[in-house]
C-alpha cells in the first residue's frame, strides 16, 4: 500500500484570527425574544409529529438513518431548547393552559417550521438544527463546517483519565488535541487536568477553530486551552518534544466510502473532517509518525480509528515501522464492541 503523507498545508498563518467566520449560537442560549400562543405552538407540534411519523423506518432502511421514534425524541429536545416559558408545556399535560396564553420562544414559529422541515426532509443533522451537541457532561456549540462530536469519542477522555491516574505527571503537563473540531476532546481533557495542565487544540478549518474557541470560552477554559489554526503538528512546532499527551479523532473514512454515507453525515458534515484518503489512514499514519518527536518519554497517545481493521493495521505499523519508540500499544473497543481506539506510550 502506498500511503500519501501529504496533507494540504494550511495557507493560514498559525492561529490567525478567523474573522470571516460567522458563529451561530446554540438555540437554547438565544434570547427568548419571539412570542407565540399555546394553540399555535400546539399546531406546529402536531404538524411536526405527523411529519415525523410519516418517516417510519424509511431512513433506517435507506442508509441506517434515524427512524421516527428517534426523530420524535429529537423533536422533544427541540421543544426543550426552543421554549423559554412555560417549560412544562409538553411534560405536564394535566396543567390546562389557556390556548391563547403567550409562549416565549427562542426562534420564530416560522423558523421552527423551517428547522423541522430541514431536519426531516433535508436530513439536516439534529445537532446543526439546534446548534449544539450534548457530549459527555458538556453542551458544545456546533454548526455547519464542524464535525459533530460522536458518542464513541467520549471514551477518549476516559482513556486519558485512566492514563493520568497511572502517572500523575501527565496531569500537569502539555497536551494536544489534533483536529479538534468543536473542541470537544480539548475541553473534556482540560477539565480533568491539574492547575498547570494545558491543552493546545489545532484545526485546519477556520470554522472549527472559531467554534472551538467559542466553546472554550463557554467553559471558561481560555487559560488552559489554546486553539491554534493550522494543519496537524504545524502549529505545535515550538513545543516539539514537550507534550505529555496527544489525542486525535482525525478523518478516517476511506474516500470511496464517502458517497455511501448516511445522509446526515455525507450531505451535511465537512468532508475535511471525514475523508482519510484512499485507505482512510493518511492522517492516522501522519499522526503516528509525528507522535515520535512530539511526545516526551512516557507521554500518552490515544487516536480514534474507523474500527477493527485500521486499529489492527496501526498497531502493527507502530510495532514494526516505529519499533522501540512506543510501549504498551493496544487497541481499545467502544461500547459497540468495535476496536475503535489505539493507545500507547512514548518509550522512556
Amino acid at each position: 500500500m502506498r500511503l500519501s503523507f501529504i496533507r494540504p498545508i494550511s495557507c493560514y498563518s498559525v492561529s490567525s484570527p478567523a474573522t470571516s467566520v460567522k458563529l451561530q449560537k446554540p438555540l437554547f442560549v438565544r434570547p427568548p425574544t419571539f412570542k407565540t400562543t399555546i394553540s399555535d405552538l400546539k399546531k406546529w407540534h402536531l404538524w411536526a409529529k405527523s411529519l415525523t411519523s410519516s418517516v417510519g423506518s424509511t431512513f433506517l432502511e435507506l442508509d441506517n438513518g434515524p427512524d421516527s421514534e428517534l426523530l420524535l425524541r429529537e423533536l422533544n429536545w427541540l421543544v426543550e431548547d426552543a421554549i423559554q416559558t412555560p417549560k412544562s408545556f409538553l411534560q405536564q399535560p394535566h396543567i390546562k393552559y389557556n390556548d391563547n396564553s403567550s409562549v416565549s420562544i427562542r426562534a420564530s414559529l416560522e423558523q421552527l417550521y423551517m428547522l423541522w422541515k430541514q431536519r426531516v426532509e433535508e436530513r439536516r443533522p439534529f445537532q446543526y438544527v439546534v446548534g449544539c451537541e450534548h457530549w459527555r457532561d458538556l453542551v458544545l456549540s456546533v454548526q455547519e463546517g464542524v464535525l459533530i462530536p460522536r458518542p464513541e469519542t467520549e471514551l477518549i477522555v476516559d482513556l486519558v483519565n485512566d492514563a493520568i491516574k497511572e502517572n500523575e505527571e501527565l496531569r500537569e503537563g502539555l497536551w494536544a488535541d489534533l483536529g479538534t473540531g468543536s473542541g470537544a476532546l480539548a475541553i473534556g481533557i482540560a477539565r480533568i487536568l491539574g492547575s498547570s495542565g494545558r491543552v493546545v487544540a489545532t484545526d485546519l478549518s477556520p470554522v472549527a477553530a472559531a467554534v472551538a474557541s467559542y466553546n472554550v470560552q463557554t467553559y471558561d477554559l481560555e487559560e488552559k486551552v489554546h486553539v491554534k489554526q493550522g494543519s496537524w503538528f504545524e502549529p505545535l512546532r515550538d513545543n516539539d518534544g514537550e507534550f505529555v499527551g496527544l489525542v486525535s479523532n482525525p478523518p478516517y473514512i476511506p474516500s470511496k466510502d464517502i458517497g455511501g454515507l448516511q445522509a446526515e453525515v455525507g450531505r451535511h458534515e465537512p468532508r475535511l473532517a471525514l475523508d482519510g484518503g484512499a485507505s482512510g489512514m493518511n492522517d492516522l499514519i501522519h499522526l503516528c509518525n509525528g507522535a515520535v518527536s512530539m511526545l516526551k518519554p512516557g507521554g500518552f497517545f490515544a487516536f480514534e480509528t474507523n474500527g477493527d481493521e485500521q486499529s489492527k493495521f496501526l498497531v502493527h505499523y507502530i510495532e514494526t515501522k516505529k519499533q522501540g519508540n512506543f510501549s504498551k500499544v493496544k487497541m481499545v473497543s467502544d461500547f459497540a464492541g468495535i476496536q475503535r481506539f489505539i493507545t500507547g506510550f512514548r518509550g522512556r
Binding site: 457530549w135 460522536r150 467520549e154
Partner: protein, 478 residues
C-alpha cells in the same frame, strides 16, 4: 412475557455470590448521631433531667470521637433508655392514664385543656404504634449494647452503621418523649395556675397545649414514613404484563399516573428508560422521582395493577383485563452503605449499535445498557442527550437495584421479613381499576375504593397511599 422476566430475575437474585455483597466503607463523619440535639434539652425538665445531662455529655463526646474513632471513647455509657422515668404529672397522671380517662375530644377551636390533652395523648399513642415502639426500644437497647463494646471500632464500617442507626432511632424516641414530657408539664402548670388563681398562666398553657396538639397531628403523618429508607428519592418501574398492545397501553397509563402524582407532590420527575410498544404504549419504563419521602409514599404502589375496560385496540369492542407490574426502588443517600460495584464485573453495551459507528454515523441515540455480570441485573438509560449521561443514569439505577437486593437479602437474614424477593421487588396484585361495565378503583389490601377512576389516573393517589400506610402500620402489633 414480563412475568417470565420476573421469574428469571428472582432466581438470579438468590444466586448472588456473597463476596459481591460486601459493603463499601462509606461511613461519614457527619453521622446523624451528632445531631442528637442539645437544643431539645430545654424541654427535658423535671423527671428527665438526669438523662438530659447524660445526653449532653454523650453528644459532645460523640463529636470528639467521630474525629478520632479510637475505640476507647466508646467506653462511655450511652444514654440508657430503661433508666428514663415515664413522664408523669405531680399527681401521678401518665400519658396512658390520660387516654384511660376518656376525656371528650372536642374541636381544637374549643379552649378546653382536657380535650387538647386527650387528643395529644391519642396522637402519641398512634405515633408509638406506627413507630412500632416496643420493637424500636428493644432495637435501641441492642444497638446501645453494641456501641458499648470496646472492640466496636475494629470494624469501622460496621461501627458507623450501628451508630448511624442508633442516632436515627434515638432522634425518634426523643421526639416522642419530649411531647409526653411537655404534655404532663403543661397539665401541672394548668393545675397550678388554678390553685394560684392565675388565669393568664392558665390560658398560656392551654394555648401551648393547642400548639402541641396541632404539631403532633402532623407527626402522626410523619410517623407513617418512619421506615429506614422512607425519606429517600426513588425509581418507579412499570412493566407491561402479558396481553400485547392492550397491556402496553395500560403500562403507559400507569406510568403517566405516577408522573402526574409525583408532579402534584412537587417532586422532580425524569424518565430514565423507556421501551415503547410497537403499536402503542410502553413495554416498560423507569422514572426517577426526586424529593423528600418519595420512596416512603411510592413503596405503597409496589405490586400488580389490574385494568378492566373495553379495549380501544379490539375492533370487536370486547372487555379486556390487563396487568402491569410496578416496582419501586429507593435511591440510598450518600450516608448509606452502598453495595460496592466492581468495574470489571460490568459489561457496558451500546443500544441499537448498527453499522460502522464513529464518524460514519450521526445519531442522537446514545443509550447504553449496563449488565452486572455476577447477578445478571441490567440497567439502561436512553433519555439523556449524551452517552456519558446515559451511562451515569444507568449506573445510578444499577446501584440502586443492587442496593435493594442487598437490603432484601439482609432483611431475610434478620428474619424480620418473610416476603420473598419477588414480592419485595414486584409484589402481588394490589389494585383493580375498572372502567367498564362500572367505574371504580379498589385497593385489594385496604378495600379503599373510589368511583372516579379518571382522577386516580390523573395522579390523585394520596388517599390510596395513606390508607395503605396507615392500615399496614396501625394494625395491632404482635
Amino acid at each position: 412475557m414480563s412475568f417470565l422476566i420476573l421469574g428469571r430475575r428472582s432466581t438470579q437474585l438468590s444466586r448472588i455470590p456473597r463476596k459481591l455483597l460486601l459493603f463499601s466503607s462509606t461511613f461519614s463523619s457527619q453521622s446523624p448521631n451528632t445531631s442528637i440535639s442539645n437544643n431539645r434539652s430545654t424541654i427535658f425538665h423535671s423527671s428527665y433531667s438526669s438523662s438530659n445531662i447524660r445526653n449532653k455529655g454523650f453528644s459532645s463526646i460523640f463529636k470528639g470521637s467521630t474525629k478520632n474513632p479510637s475505640g476507647s471513647l466508646w467506653g462511655v455509657r450511652f444514654l440508657s433508655l430503661e433508666a428514663a422515668v415515664e413522664p408523669t404529672t405531680a399527681d401521678g397522671l401518665t400519658v396512658e392514664g390520660i387516654i384511660a380517662k376518656n376525656w371528650n375530644i372536642l374541636d381544637d377551636s374549643e379552649d378546653d385543656w382536657k380535650s387538647h390533652a386527650s387528643s395529644i395523648a391519642q396522637s402519641v399513642h398512634l405515633i408509638k404504634k406506627r413507630l412500632k415502639w416496643k420493637r424500636l426500644m428493644y432495637r435501641l437497647e441492642v444497638l446501645s449494647a453494641q456501641l458499648n463494646k470496646a472492640d466496636l471500632w475494629d470494624d469501622p464500617v460496621h461501627a458507623g452503621k450501628i451508630s448511624r442507626e442508633h442516632g436515627s432511632l434515638m432522634n425518634k424516641v426523643e421526639d416522642v418523649m419530649a411531647i409526653e414530657q411537655e404534655l404532663v408539664e403543661h397539665i401541672d402548670m394548668i393545675k397550678l395556675a388554678r390553685e394560684e388563681n392565675d388565669p393568664e398562666l392558665e390560658s398560656e398553657s392551654v394555648k401551648a397545649l393547642l400548639g402541641i396538639r396541632r404539631n403532633v397531628k402532623e407527626k402522626e403523618l410523619e410517623a407513617l414514613l418512619s421506615g429506614e429508607h422512607d425519606n429517600c428519592s426513588c425509581f418507579i418501574e412499570v412493566q407491561a404484563g402479558a396481553g400485547g398492545t392492550e397491556s402496553m397501553d395500560w403500562a403507559s397509563m400507569v406510568m403517566q399516573m405516577y408522573k402526574l402524582w409525583a408532579q402534584r407532590k412537587g417532586y422532580g420527575v425524569s424518565v430514565v428508560d423507556e421501551m415503547p410498544g410497537e403499536i402503542a404504549g410502553i413495554k416498560r419504563a423507569t422514572i426517577k422521582v426526586d424529593g423528600e419521602n418519595a420512596f416512603g409514599y411510592a413503596k405503597s404502589e409496589v405490586g400488580v395493577h389490574r385494568l378492566v375496560r373495553i379495549s380501544p385496540f379490539d375492533s370487536a369492542k370486547r372487555r379486556h383485563t390487563s396487568f402491569v407490574a410496578v416496582a419501586v426502588i429507593p435511591i440510598l443517600g450518600d450516608g448509606s452503605t452502598h453495595v460496592q460495584i466492581n468495574e470489571s464485573d460490568l459489561r457496558i453495551e451500546r443500544f441499537r449499535s448498527g453499522g460502522a459507528g464513529g464518524q460514519s454515523v450521526n445519531t442522537t441515540e446514545s443509550a447504553v445498557r449496563i449488565t452486572h455480570i455476577p447477578t445478571g441485573i441490567t440497567a439502561s438509560c436512553q433519555n439523556e442527550r449524551s452517552q456519558h449521561s446515559n451511562k451515569a443514569s444507568a449506573m445510578a439505577v444499577l446501584q440502586s437495584r443492587l442496593d435493594q437486593l442487598e437490603m432484601a437479602r439482609q432483611a431475610q437474614m434478620n428474619a424480620q421479613h418473610t416476603q420473598s424477593l419477588t414480592e419485595i421487588s414486584w409484589g402481588n396484585q394490589i389494585r383493580t381499576y375498572v372502567l367498564h361495565p362500572y367505574r371504580m378503583v379498589k385497593d385489594l389490601r385496604t378495600n379503599y375504593e373510589v368511583s372516579d377512576p379518571d382522577s386516580v389516573l390523573e395522579g390523585d393517589l394520596d388517599d390510596f397511599i395513606l390508607s395503605f400506610l396507615s392500615t399496614s402500620l396501625d394494625k395491632d402489633e404482635e
